[in-house]
């Protein structure tokens, strides 16, 4: 039983990083595909489409920071706390990155048609990013309460 609890602790420690990276892969792939399509259809502004496509990569960075914040010697006492914080934070990062990718794809699609609404079209992606930041910040705050 102790081994299982310790394994969960390790999963919680590495979870934010791994799940955040999976989300970033999905999100960047969706937005990147949309950016490639927009390159075919437009003559200028290619750089910004590729820039938007990279937006969901921030969740991987948040995951790395949370992983370092949780990094400590894993014991039976602190493993459940690490698992709960790490896995839930990782899931939040995964979903936010995947859905942010869809928002970015839509932003690319409309900005291609009307370049003047480029900034406004990014608002939904920025809002989704806000929720990822909430998950990230409060994971850091709560991690201070997990026994070292």
């Amino acid at each position: 039983m102790d081994n299982l609890i310790i394994a969960l602790g390790w999963a919680g420690l590495y979870g934010p990083m791994a799940l955040g990276a999976i989300g970033s892969m999905i999100g960047c792939a969706l937005a990147g595909q949309a950016a490639c399509g927009a390159l075919l259809e437009t003559e200028t502004g290619h750089g910004r489409y590729i820039g938007i496509a990279a937006m969901p990569s921030s969740q991987s960075i948040y995951g790395i920071v949370v992983m370092f914040a949780l990094n400590r010697e894993i014991t039976v006492d602190n493993a459940p706390g690490l698992a709960a914080i790490g896995l839930l934070c990782g899931l939040a990062l995964l979903f936010s990155a995947a859905w942010q990718g869809r928002c970015c794809a839509s932003a690319i699609n409309v900005a291609k048609i009307r370049p003047e609404i480029f900034g406004m079209s990014l608002a939904p992606a920025a809002i989704v990013e806000g929720f990822a930041v909430f998950a990230f910040i409060f994971a850091l705050v709560i991690s201070a309460g997990v026994p070292a």
């Binding site: 969706l30 595909q33 949309a34 950016a35 490639c36 399509g37 259809e41 869809r102 794809a105 699609n109």
Partner: protein
């Protein structure tokens, strides 16, 4: 899930039908973009296009009854429920138009009328009522009747195209980055293309060609020739 992200953003924006003065992409360029589709997707799209925008020459030899049978067989190959609904809607509008035209030319026996969709039985049952008993459930019927009574077929055609355009645009906006969105775009493109190449002379040629084929089929030509001799 991600198959249509590149393809959809590689397509240009189609303005509203009444504002569309030129096509934003040629058929050649559109077909080049559509090569990104899988074989199965291409086959589905081709079938949907053939159902939505049938080539008259392929169907001119068929009777209404055979045409409906052929249409039902082709419909069974469509996999997307959204596209099935849209094609059904188009066929229902066509059925309404056909019923109004048949009645206008004096068809007195509703059992001779063939159509497709939810309203066929109602149309036959209420054949002699002005709105086929559909006034409340089908608001388009009143408008079609009004335009047909003015004897302006161009306005009827415009209204019909506008109805299809609206239904396709709504479906496209509800299914981002999907096969349905792509199919709706291609069908809207075809409506715009058809509207832009409306040509009176060509219409007369097509009418004459259709008339010749039908007269040939019915044997009327021979009877007329014998009568003249």
């Amino acid at each position: 899930m991600s198959d249509y992200y590149t393809l959809m953003t590689a397509l240009p924006w189609l303005p509203e039908l009444e504002q569309c003065t030129q096509l934003p992409i040629s058929r050649i360029a559109l077909d080049r973009r559509l090569t990104m589709l899988s074989d199965e997707g291409s086959a589905q799209l081709a079938n949907i296009e053939a159902l939505f925008h049938p080539i008259i020459d392929h169907y001119i030899m068929l009777t209404d009854k055979d045409l409906i049978a052929q249409w039902k067989a082709d419909m069974s190959k469509v996999e997307s429920p959204v596209m099935l609904e849209l094609i059904n809607y188009q066929m229902e509008l066509k059925t309404l138009l056909a019923a109004l035209r048949c009645r206008a030319v004096g068809l007195d026996d509703p059992s001779q009328f063939h159509g497709a969709g939810r309203w066929v039985q109602l149309i036959k049952k209420h054949w002699f009522e002005p709105g086929f008993g559909l006034d409340r459930v089908c608001p388009q019927l009143l408008q079609l009747q009004r335009l047909m009574s003015k004897e302006k077929p161009m306005l009827v055609e415009q209204y019909y195209n506008q109805q299809l355009w609206t239904s396709l645009r709504q479906a496209e906006h509800s299914h981002h980055f999907s096969f349905e969105a792509l199919a709706c775009f291609v069908l809207r493109w075809a409506i715009a293309e058809r509207c832009l190449r409306y040509d009176g002379d060509k219409a007369v040629d097509t009418f004459n060609k259709s008339r010749s084929v039908l007269l040939e089929l019915s044997g009327l030509n021979q009877q007329l020739l014998q009568g003249n001799n």
